[in-house]
Symmetry: C4
Subunit: 220 residues, 4 copies
Amino acid sequence: MHRRAAPAERTNGVQGAEGNERLNAFSDGVIAIAITLLVLEIKVPEHIPPGGLAGLLPDLLPKLAGHVISFIVLGIYWVGHHNMFMHIKRHDRTLLWLNILFLLCIASMPFVAGLITHHGDDPLAIASYGGLLVITGLVLDAIWWYASHRRRLVGPSIDPELVAFIHRKVLSGPLLYLIAIGIAFFSITLAKLAFAIVAILQIMPSPLDHYHHKQLDGRE
Amino acid sequence: MHRRAAPAERTNGVQGAEGNERLNAFSDGVIAIAITLLVLEIKVPEHIPPGGLAGLLPDLLPKLAGHVISFIVLGIYWVGHHNMFMHIKRHDRTLLWLNILFLLCIASMPFVAGLITHHGDDPLAIASYGGLLVITGLVLDAIWWYASHRRRLVGPSIDPELVAFIHRKVLSGPLLYLIAIGIAFFSITLAKLAFAIVAILQIMPSPLDHYHHKQLDGRE
Amino acid sequence: MHRRAAPAERTNGVQGAEGNERLNAFSDGVIAIAITLLVLEIKVPEHIPPGGLAGLLPDLLPKLAGHVISFIVLGIYWVGHHNMFMHIKRHDRTLLWLNILFLLCIASMPFVAGLITHHGDDPLAIASYGGLLVITGLVLDAIWWYASHRRRLVGPSIDPELVAFIHRKVLSGPLLYLIAIGIAFFSITLAKLAFAIVAILQIMPSPLDHYHHKQLDGRE
Amino acid sequence: MHRRAAPAERTNGVQGAEGNERLNAFSDGVIAIAITLLVLEIKVPEHIPPGGLAGLLPDLLPKLAGHVISFIVLGIYWVGHHNMFMHIKRHDRTLLWLNILFLLCIASMPFVAGLITHHGDDPLAIASYGGLLVITGLVLDAIWWYASHRRRLVGPSIDPELVAFIHRKVLSGPLLYLIAIGIAFFSITLAKLAFAIVAILQIMPSPLDHYHHKQLDGRE
């Protein structure tokens, strides 16, 4: 007994239903809320030391830095989702649920970021933060795998190199975060620094990109 | 004295006004906020036991599991709303208000989920949670009933089997949740498990779907 | 020296710039957040009396009722904004700012609703809540006045009766809320009841509507 | 070795990818959340003095005024972003990240507004608030500079005067805020007043605009 699509889906000639407006809008909403609340989590201090707010800076600045890193990390995932869904043209039930799984990871980000802000010396905080980043990246890649495999939900004429390029780009995140988690076994401070460096690396156009592009050029 | 449409509505040839962009955007916004805040409700523990964060896991893990279930439940309703409004093409005043009633249920979800997180052994917490899920499902079905009855706000050529299929799909939720509430009379732990199973059942393509599809195929 | 439009605006043949997608999306966002947080403001009780959650119901139920009313009130304003902007086709700087003023009222709603929830016996709480509702309605009507006056930002062939109908519909809110505030001088309980009745009145298709429609029919 | 665009970007004839719907929707989401939470930050007082809520007014009114100012300031940035992206037609990786940087500033606004609400007499609070406003304005201008320079992401036939007009308009904010920060060295009360005046100045169509428009007219 083979599986069949529901009647709603069968009405389309191609696989999946046209139009990802609501999927995108819902995702934008969840990411926007998570990214904004991240910064809002920094509480205005109730009590001020005798020297004024300046006396709180040594305590406040590392927290602010941490939140900026987390903001950038969520920004990376938004950019990744945005760029991926420029190519995903349709959706089906499985894609909707993979995307909701991705959003569950996104919505959990402020929690693990809070763990690292308040208990940053606890190895479990680092592991939770890094682990969630790895899982989020893998889920995002699963979305791309599902959508692009056999051109299921992308355009029929998509460049195979582009499919592979997006896989490499998305999977580079989890790989780098795994290295940062490994560093945590030796030094938690170095691990935090590693997370910051990974975040900045992912924003920058990297030499790795150049290499891939040259490869792409060579075979054209 | 028979009722008449307001002038704004009379300008349309067919019943209701074209374009549900804002209805969808507003719904996506409310669901996105409710689903994100659900996870944000898990507070970062202020005080850490001597053994580090690991000592909090026995307390934290069931809460995390509960929030994942609630996240999935809200996800189910978003998917249901999304799929239903792929077929609802127009709106009128009544549909707007049925939809706001649906959103009231959605926005209340974090509250009842919080009840079950913090006071999960209280039968009233289970009843509130399950009861709200039942009502939400019934309201969603009322939207479909109102929109599809006599093709009021859907396309004129919609497949009657599809109309019935969506009713069955949407109503299966409240039915299953009612059973879970019934189980709560015997064991609250079993009832919680039942909610989790129902949530997972609703994501999975079920054998029930296959049966319906075979029925649909038989008559084509 | 007469005022002139900025270069950006002069490029359009008609007054104002085409396309209110972002104005609508931004408004939907603010209203969605305000309406969702309204319900989220009901806190899960930390401590439970010996009799279980049921013992809290006498305290919780009026709060829940109040929040449902406030949810409906915000829903009314969303529906009003939605229906009005089905006819407003363009925007200019003044409309953007009138709309931001409207959103300031909307965003302030959870605060005054909180006043009434926690200090509902204080006349100032009733006055703040009612006063904000009156102002919000007047601002919404100012938006309509500005947009529809001399067909500034609406379609050139809009029915004058429709322009007047929307004014009456929008202004009926502030009028009714003023009466409810007046009742508060005699009895705060009655005033709260009046707010609930007004909210329900505005949802229901009213006999007043029928009268206007008959008038409209007579002149066609 | 010169830099090359990624394969995704090379598929477009012109520079950057078409369609800023998601960039705009994401930005609207973040600004809507930040602007709404700004007002929600005003807490309903738990304890009421013997004279009723009226006794809290002297404490509450300046806070309310401050939040209205902050609401207007965020509104100014939304209007600025909105007007700017009426002309920006495409995006690339750099624009996405400049925009995320802008949103980081926006999301940080409630924090610095909270500093000024709770510790408004501390010079560091004024400096943080004013400093963030200056940076936000500079980032917004950087977006315009990047997009409009050599017509990178705007229409090819955009009026050079319009490009310059938007620069002047956007940069006038940071300039005025810098003056307000300077005033804080003499009087914190005057500085607060200056922020309020700047906010109102930016809403009002200013004589400066008229001058520019006359200039524009002269050369046509």
